[in-house]
Amino acid sequence: MATDTAKRAPASLIFMVLAALAVLAALFSLTNGAYPLGPSDVVNLLLEPTAAKPAAHMVFFDVRMPRLVLGFLTGAVLAVSGTLLQGLFRNPLADPGLIGVSGGAALAAVSVIVLGGSWLSDWTILTGRWALPLAAFMGSVLTTMVAWRVASRSGSIAVATLLLAGIAINAVAGALTGLLTFYADDSELRSLTFWSMGSLGHASWEDLQVAGPWMLLALLLAPLLAKPLDAFALGESVAGHLGFSVQWVKRATVVLSALGTGAAVAVTGLIGFVGLVVPHLLRQIVGAGHRVLIPASGLAGGVLLVAADSLARVVVAPAELPIGLMMSLLGGPFFLVLLMRMRIGA
């Protein structure tokens, strides 16, 4: 069963296929919705935006484009963060949720939804329409910092403790979120349920202006960690022997994934599975080397989320399924099949 030599597609081919898939997914996403826009309309709109009908122009540039860009960035950031954290924890089961990012974001978001009119009214007045995303972002970064504090001893981080701290913090955040849910009224319940299932439905350029830079920052800096993360696969001490500054690598990995994922979760709500499945799947195709794995995961994560979002709009049209729900519906069974087919080899 064990293969003798690693069968891998060349990196250039992988990137070409992923780029082609990205174009297809983008076209699928842009042409899909209540207002009819065909592929030729898309091309015309891109080439001559001023010649289009105002309605088409509005739908295309103010509704579908931001949704496409946000979807792609979110998918890319979740997948890249998953790759970074799997590399850091040396475990293919790690994902951004593990260090407390999503638990903290959820607690903060639900707090704003449920308490926004009472205890947290100062916050909602101060931050206006950004009350929820800002809180979610801060929640995710803060919980990660708590996990980090717990795991640090005299300047160095115990990676296993960080993981356990993340699990404990997630449990506490989950319990507090549950408590808030208990006190929520019907309409609050409805909106917090939808938030926790994730959505790209309200994507706007304003959201992107606020969250986009953090996500882009994480995506652009992540490839710098490729070499040290390869060395981390042999363990922290070996990475140190090879000359890498181990503490710096750990810090950079956690900061990038917390900032990127925090920003994504803040504007889209909880979207699971991308960060877990994409790196895992791609490792089978492009190999474990992070130099190719990180950018390939980013592209594939973006494609996957855009495609899943487009599907989510089709299956129950004119309504749409929450994207987080869609991801888990598709991702779960797919992952199970993958696991059964592989059995050996991580």
Partner: protein
């Protein structure tokens, strides 16, 4: 200039004293074998020399500079470390693992060096295999190739710290590895500090044997003085005869 100069090193982990009053000097071109029973502190000494464990007393100088004054990346060009065990967490190929030791080389030079080292360790045909599919002995030689690659293109003094680098190898492979290490020491001036369990391997290949017990260095000298029945009995509790071979080194034969 000594490559390695350890003075009165003391190491405490928690409440237990792991190393006490360890002093050791290693010169360029010297192959030094660290011997001693399990738990004597050999691996701890090696890890302390590798900068993994923070020590309390004494000092360690590497290439004439206090160990804490070295930057990791700088030191990595002159000093390579092979731990007792290395687990690879993802399905990397052999070539990718060895390449981790080849920083700063162009792709073609890197592949040439990797193929050469794998060949020298008689695993040339494994270059494209995935690490998890290899046997323990094969994986150990891949790690050794990575460690050797790290210093291969350095000029000037170099130090290898090896912790039981042949523990999973059969006698012939053990011979291949130690002949190569000896060649590097004698022809390239490498200094090698290796934890060795096999007394006869140490006797055959090492310039100097350092015998440890209970966190201290008991004896430090040539094989003929270290491998004496009295000392072996005292340190290991090993009843053995020691034969002086005409080749010039002694051989230890455990008594039935």
């Amino acid at each position: 200039m000594s490559i390695l100069r350890v003075k009165q090193l003391g190491l405490t982990l928690g409440r237990s004293r792991i190393l006490q009053d360890v002093s050791l000097t290693v010169e360029p071109g010297e192959l030094v074998a660290l011997l001693g029973p399990n738990g004597a502190g050999k691996s701890s000494l090696l890890k302390t020399l590798a900068g993994e464990l923070a020590f309390g007393q004494g000092s360690i100088e590497l290439f004439g500079r206090e160990i804490r004054q070295w930057k990791g990346a700088e030191l990595a060009r002159q000093r390579a470390v092979m731990p007792q065990r290395v687990d690879v967490s993802f399905p990397f190929t052999v070539r990718e693992i060895v390449a981790l030791g080849c920083s700063g080389l162009a792709a073609s030079e890197r592949n040439e060096l990797i193929d050469y080292l794998l060949q020298r360790l008689s695993i040339g045909e494994l270059a494209e295999r995935l690490m998890p599919t290899l046997s323990g002995g094969e994986q150990q030689r891949v790690q050794l190739a990575r460690v050797l690659a790290q210093l291969w293109n350095t000029s000037g003094p170099r130090l290898l710290l090896l912790d039981e680098c042949t523990s999973a190898l059969d006698p012939a492979q053990q011979q291949t590895v130690f002949s190569l290490l000896r060649e590097l020491a004698k022809e390239q001036g490498y200094s090698v500090v290796a934890v060795v369990h096999d007394l006869n391997v140490a006797s055959c290949y090492a310039d100097r044997l350092v015998m440890m017990a209970a966190g201290r260095i008991v004896e430090d000298g040539a094989a003929s003085t270290i491998l004496a029945p009295g000392l072996l009995d005292k340190v290991f509790g090993l009843k053995a005869r020691v034969l002086a071979l005409p080749e010039g080194y002694p051989m230890v034969i455990p008594q039935a």
